[in-house]
């Protein structure tokens, strides 16, 4: 369990570091403990998590045939 309780301001300040996986295990546990008990911060965390996921999805795009053909030609030369 955590050494001390974080308040909402502490959690919101560190929330993106937490969602980006930038916090150590103790810091993450403190954030998670707060999120389990605070509906407002939980909603905020879920919103930011979902938005991050939607942004991450933009990193996949159907490649054009021209690129597929180019890669095939490249791979045949290896």
């Amino acid at each position: 369990m955590t050494d001390h309780e974080l308040n909402c301001e502490d959690v919101l300040r560190q929330l993106l570091d937490y969602l980006d996986g930038e916090m150590d295990s103790e810091g993450s546990a403190q954030i998670e403990h707060h999120l389990e008990h605070c509906r407002g911060c939980f909603s905020r965390a879920e919103f930011e998590r979902r938005l991050k996921a939607r942004i991450g999805e933009t990193g996949t795009e159907e490649a054009p045939e021209s690129l597929r053909a180019r890669l095939k030609s490249l791979l045949n030369r290896f």
Binding site: D24, R50, E62, P64, L71
Partner: protein, 228 residues
């Protein structure tokens, strides 16, 4: 995901190492090596192209970036120790290749980045807070509705509209899965700079999304001045 980092006491459960130390699926030394490499490239082509497109913003440039990265990856295949980590590894090569090209194209990249850093617009903007004005709380889950109704095109337009120095950090962290330290090393800036650029970029991104949502009628007009 089997490309977990070697435990260091840090809770980096979603990160992948650039050159992982794990040895779960060694890269073969025989003739199947090329076949395996080709299969992985084919499997990941849409991911590589999408990432390259977000970085370059131009389809032809993105194609060039993917092709150059694949050629480099083949030449450096000996560096890869675990085929399970192929995606993380080739994404790092693509990121490195893009940053090298990007630096070459700009005579004074540091000047451009500093100028962007001086502009604090969007730093504190929060879509969530815009959606949680007291008189909007009759909506059941306004934030969930907005995130679900945003079109992919809305997200791409907002991302592509960010200045280079901000967009690159967002793509590296949110699309490619770089840690702040990895992004800092590649961009040759302190970790604190990556964090502050990321915060500003997210503010700008959310401000642009708010503006687009209002234009599309997905969000109320109450905060007319907030996103202008």
């Amino acid at each position: 995901m089997s490309c977990q980092p070697v435990p260091t006491g840090r809770a980096r459960t979603t990160r992948m190492r650039a050159v992982p130390a794990c040895l779960e699926e060694p890269v073969p030394e025989d003739a199947s090596r090329r076949r395996l490499f080709a299969a992985e490239v084919e499997r990941l082509t849409d991911r590589l192209f999408g990432t390259a497109l977000r970085l370059t913003r131009h389809r032809a440039d993105a194609e060039d970036l993917v092709a150059e990265s694949v050629a480099k990856a083949w030449a450096r295949l000996d560096e890869l120790r675990d085929m399970q980590c192929f995606e993380a590894w080739i994404q790092r090569i693509l990121g490195n290749t893009f940053v090298s090209q990007w630096r070459r194209r700009r005579a004074h990249p540091e000047v451009a980045l500093e100028a962007e850093d001086a502009d604090g617009e969007g730093e504190t903007f929060s879509l969530f807070e815009q959606l949680h004005q007291p008189f909007l709380l009759w909506w059941s889950n306004p934030e969930e509705m907005l995130v679900n109704k945003l079109l992919r095109e809305d997200l791409e337009r907002a991302l592509d509209g960010l200045p280079d120095g901000f967009r690159i950090v967002v793509v590296m962290v949110e699309v490619q899965g770089y840690s702040y330290a990895e992004a800092a090393e590649l961009l040759q800036v302190p970790v604190g700079t990556v964090r502050s650029r990321l915060n500003r970029a997210r503010g700008l991104l959310q401000r642009a999304l708010w503006r687009q949502a209002r234009e599309a009628g997905l969000a109320p007009e109450h905060g007319r001045n907030a996103g202008d």
